[in-house]
Each structure stands twice: as C-alpha cells, then as structure tokens.
Symmetry: C2
Subunit: 348 residues, 2 copies
C-alpha cells in the first residue's frame, strides 16, 4: 500500500501503563509549551508529572476519551497539581469536571485546535480527539480491532457507524493513536485500518461487524467494578462547589460534629504523625494520597467531612474522591486543626 | 526547557514485546518503501512480518544493537522470510550474519543514510544507529537511565565515554529511541537526557557515574543463560558455508549415516505427517519452526545433520540454529527425502 503518513508539528509523547496497557498521550505545542494530557492513569501520576515538569509544559487540559473500565484516571490529581481543566464528553455524564464537550467542539493549545468527535459504541460517552494530523480515539478504534461493545451502554451498531462514518472519513494519512494495543503496536493510520482492520476493514458490512462483536465472549475487565464507579460521578444531584472552599469552616465542622450521626464521618487527611499529635475526637485518619483505597467504604455514609491543617490537602482529597464518584463530601477548604485548637474545641 | 524536537520523514513504527519490554523499530522510507527492522524479538515474528507485509515494505536490513541477554532475536527468521541482511557490530563477534559493521559505517535505505556509532559499555559490541534526526541506541542510553555494565564485557567507564562523548554530541533535538523502558515511556531527546538523565545528566562526572553503576546490585536477566548463547555465535571456528547448499547431498548424508557415531544425530525438519510417511532410520523429527526449543539439546552432539524434502526448510533451520549459537550443523541444502528413496536407501 502507499505509505503516506502525517508529520505532526506537535510534540507527542506516548506513555504506557504496564499493568493495564493503557496508552496516555502528552501533546505539546513546541512554541508556546502549552499542552494536553490524554487518558492519564492513576498509578502513573508521578511519572507523568515529572515529564510535564521536565519539559516545562503548561498543561491546559486533561482529555478523557471515555469512562474507563480498566483503570482509574489521575485527572483529578493532575488538575490539582497543574490547574489543567478536566474534559469528558457531555454524553459521559461525569460530574465534578470542568468541560463537558460536544461533537465538533474545539479546544485550543497554542496555535493548534483540537476537535472533539463523538464516537459512541464502546461506551455511550466515547469521544475522539483530532489535532495536527493525529487521531486519539481511545477504545473506539483500536489497531486492527476496536473496543468491546458489551457493557457501559455499548452498541456494535453504533460503533460501526462511529468508525466507518466519522473516523474513516478522516484523511488516509491520519496517525491513529489508540487507547490500548495488546499486541505491542503503538500507532497505525486511517488508511491501514480501512484496509486491514480485522473487524471493520476491507469494506466489512455492519451485519458482518455486529456478528463478530456478538461472538467475542470476553471476560469482564478485572477492575471494572472498581474503575467505572471511580471514574464516573454517580449522577445523584450534588453541587461540589456548595460545600467547598469558603463556605465551610472549622466552626461549621464543630457544629456538625456536635450533632454527628451514625451515618456521618469526620476524616482527618493529614499524616499519621500529625493525626496522633491531636485531632478532632472520633475522626478517622485517611492521609492524603490514600483516599483511593476508601471509596467503597466512604460510600456507605450519608455525609463525610474532610479537614487537614490548612485546607489544601482536604481540598485535594475532596476533588479526587469526587472524581471517583463520591457525592457525600463536605470539605473544610481554608482552615483546619489549628483553628479547632484555637477555638478550644475538644481534642483527642 | 526549550522544546525542539526533530520531525523525521521516515515512517517509524515502535513495537513492544510485552514480556521483556523490548522495543523493536520498523523504519521505512515512504517514497521507496525500503525499510529496516531494529532489534526484532523471536516471539513477535508473526506480528512484525504482518506489518511489513501490510505496509508493502521491502526490508533491506535487520539491525541488531547488541547481543541481547533478555530475549532471542528473530533476525534469522526475518532474513529467511524477507531476504533482509543481518547487521551486528564487528565487535559483537556474532557469526552467520551478513554485515559486521564498524564505527562510522553507513547503510542506505532509499534516500536515507543510517550511520553506525560504536557505543560500547553495556556490552562490548553495542552499536547505535543514527538516521533522519533519530537515535536508536539499544541499551547504551535509556530514558533517564542506561544499560547495566556488570556482564557481557560491560564497563561503566567505557559506557560513560560512549554516552557523553558520542551520543551527547548529537544535536539536542535528536529523538532518542531506546531498547527498553520499564516505566512505559517510549522516547526522549538528547537535550532531555543531557539535562535529566538520573545517572549521567546535569553534568555528572565519570567518577559519580561509575559509583552509581557499581552500586546497582541488579539480579541477572531471567533469560540470560538461554538468550546470550542463542544470540551469539559461540566463537569456535566454523565456516557455515562449508557444508551448506551445494556441498552436501543425500548421497553424502547416506555415507555419514552408515558411519553415524553416538555423538552424531540426523534431523528431519519436515512436518510430523511427512516424517511418519517415511524417513531416514533413527532420524529425529524437529519440524521447521520448532528448532528454537532444541538448542541446548543439540549442543551436546559433535555433529548434527539436517534434511527435509527439497532442502529449503533444512536450510532455514540451519540458519536459525547457527544464529542461536550452534556450530555443529551439516545441512543437505538442495535435495532431500525423495532422493534418498530414489537411491533405494533404507527407510523407516
């Protein structure tokens, strides 16, 4: 076949999570050093932040291609560390994010415009991003394959249309950067996928494709029961800004604490050493960074109050747990244990 | 830091072996479709040949950066399938190859010239390849690290000079494509490594580097006892061409067979079905493709004779086993079982 491949000007760094074989992408405009991070993985937070720092990237957006079932995103933590805005498709219905994007919407980094294409079918909230001759398609289109369609509102019929009508309409030389590749390939092109994709290439009909997809008989992803709730806001109406920052003080916490019910919990997000030096009586210590391990447990409470020393760590934990689906959080955002002590409230 | 990154015109496909985290690279001149494959892995033979076929690549060379200790190369099999020439550094002393390359030597693919740079230190035979703004450095320089120097004639002092004098002299924007990255990164640049490499960056002295390298205390690679002998000719003087092709016939095999010693073996490389339909008495059946599993066993013989039907499969097995270090092979290259039967020799 004719080899004709786009040559992007954007810096592209493809990064791999070795456990789930998820591909994360850092894109940077080399002139302005503005960048975006696509589909970052929680376990790779430190690596990804190091790279951003080393290259001097001003991170504008964290783009999620969909609500992942195989890993938990680090989007909330990246936002906390860099100020980047979290972007999901509107259809994904993820809350506590910054931008809910629609088909054809554009995001700018430096001189480049990233176009969002809604490509549902693997999940109903899948979005692909096109910029500078490259396609970042998450699990919609994979190299010589595609995402499964048997959970998270997946649909083989819908996926066929997304790929053949939207993605295969892109120029042949477009570089395809998928969300995974279990054979160790890292990129492809639209021309190659139109010709060689095992499920959709060579002009396969929708009926053929649907038959293939219905006969895959795959096991569920190992982490689905952890990852989907963690990545997805549960959808119950809750305005995270309502209790965050200015509005809830240690004085308010004291009031709530005096009437604390069995279905309510106070959490101290400081270190174990700080906690043992004096804390709000009956508070539970979940040090900043460990919160991901307590999502299931904290869901059982009607209300969970968070505090630390200055409010900073509590805010971060609040953000991370909100991204992971908790909607019962109340955070002391700009004060903490010193104020509690100054007010002469009881200390344990 | 300033982000200034080369934009290669060559098509680059980075491929990963998930077991050993080895990076293989396919480079193709998009105009002539001539290409090279760097450091292919035996277990990925099928994937790599598929890609070469799909893209319509005329493969000219298989470039090895060094004698690998963690995986077995597919170079011999790729050569057999594509006609590509196998390239190692002269210093690697690998036999049964096509080109033993020296410092500064060049290889052409299409309009591009690949320059070999000897970069010993990880092993004494390490070579890096530079082309079109890209560096393929095997395990000499890794992203923020480097290859170990504690076996295969490694030397921290030598590696320091290779990296700081040769590789760090390349333009800052040169893309660094390493042989591995255990953190899931896929590329870097010379500028980044000069600045951020944990072992060599930021102007570390040779003494500092040597101290770091001497205190790594790493375990040996799991496959080293299998992989190094398999990748390396053992060095005992043996001219594979001596017995190959024209010079050894089924008549010669019959003569050898009549005097076959306890330390000699005849191998039939046809399929099990062909074998059971009639074979040279006492021959062992190792069907073409399975030979890699018998390297250790076959080493115990003084001489191993190979035949098949036409000589083609026996030649391929001969080539592959030679690459894997066997030097005791004698191959019937242009005839086979039909000639044995026609001559009315005994059949079992």
């Amino acid at each position: 076949m004719v080899i004709n491949v786009a040559r992007p000007e954007l810096l592209v760094r493809q990064l791999i999570d070795r456990d789930t074989w998820t591909y994360t992408y850092l894109l940077v405009d080399p002139r302005t050093q503005q960048g975006v991070l696509i589909d970052p993985v929680r376990e790779q937070l430190e690596r990804d932040l190091s790279l951003i720092k080393e290259l001097g990237v001003e991170l504008h957006y964290v783009l999620e291609t969909h609500v992942h079932a195989d890993h938990i995103t680090s989007a909330g933590m990246i936002r906390q560390q860099t100020g980047a805005k979290i972007v999901y498709s509107k259809a994904a219905e993820v809350q506590a994010i910054d931008i809910a994007i629609n088909d054809g919407d554009k995001l700018e980094i430096g001189a480049y415009s990233i176009t969002a294409l809604m490509t549902p079918g693997h999940t109903n909230g899948c979005v692909s991003y096109v910029v500078d001759g490259m396609l970042f398609c998450g699990d919609a289109l994979l190299i010589h394959g595609c995402g499964r369609t048997d959970f998270q509102q997946g649909s083989a019929e819908v996926l066929y249309d997304s790929i053949t009508q939207k993605l295969f309409s892109l120029p042949d030389e477009t570089l395809v950067y998928p969300g995974h590749d279990y054979a160790g390939r890292t990129s492809s092109t639209i021309a190659e996928e139109k010709r060689w994709n095992r499920r959709l290439g060579g002009g396969k009909s929708k009926a053929e494709f649907v038959k293939i997809m219905h006969n895959l008989n795959l096991d569920l992803p190992k982490k689905i029961n952890e990852a989907v709730p963690a990545n997805m806001e549960t959808g119950i109406s809750f305005d995270p800004k309502r209790y965050l920052h200015e509005e809830f003080s240690m004085v308010d916490l004291h009031q709530a604490w005096q009437a604390l019910g069995q279905d309510e919990l106070v959490i101290d997000t400081r270190s174990a050493a700080e906690f043992s030096g004096g804390h709000v009586p009956r508070a539970k210590n979940i040090p900043f960074g460990d919160e991901g391990n307590y999502v299931a447990e904290l869901k059982n409470y009607k209300r969970v109050y968070l505090y630390c020393r200055s409010g900073r760590r509590a805010q971060t934990v609040f953000t991370n747990l909100s991204i992971m689906g908790l909607n019962n959080l109340v955070c002391v955002g700009h004060s903490g244990m010193p104020e509690w002590i100054s007010a002469d409230y009881p200390v344990e």
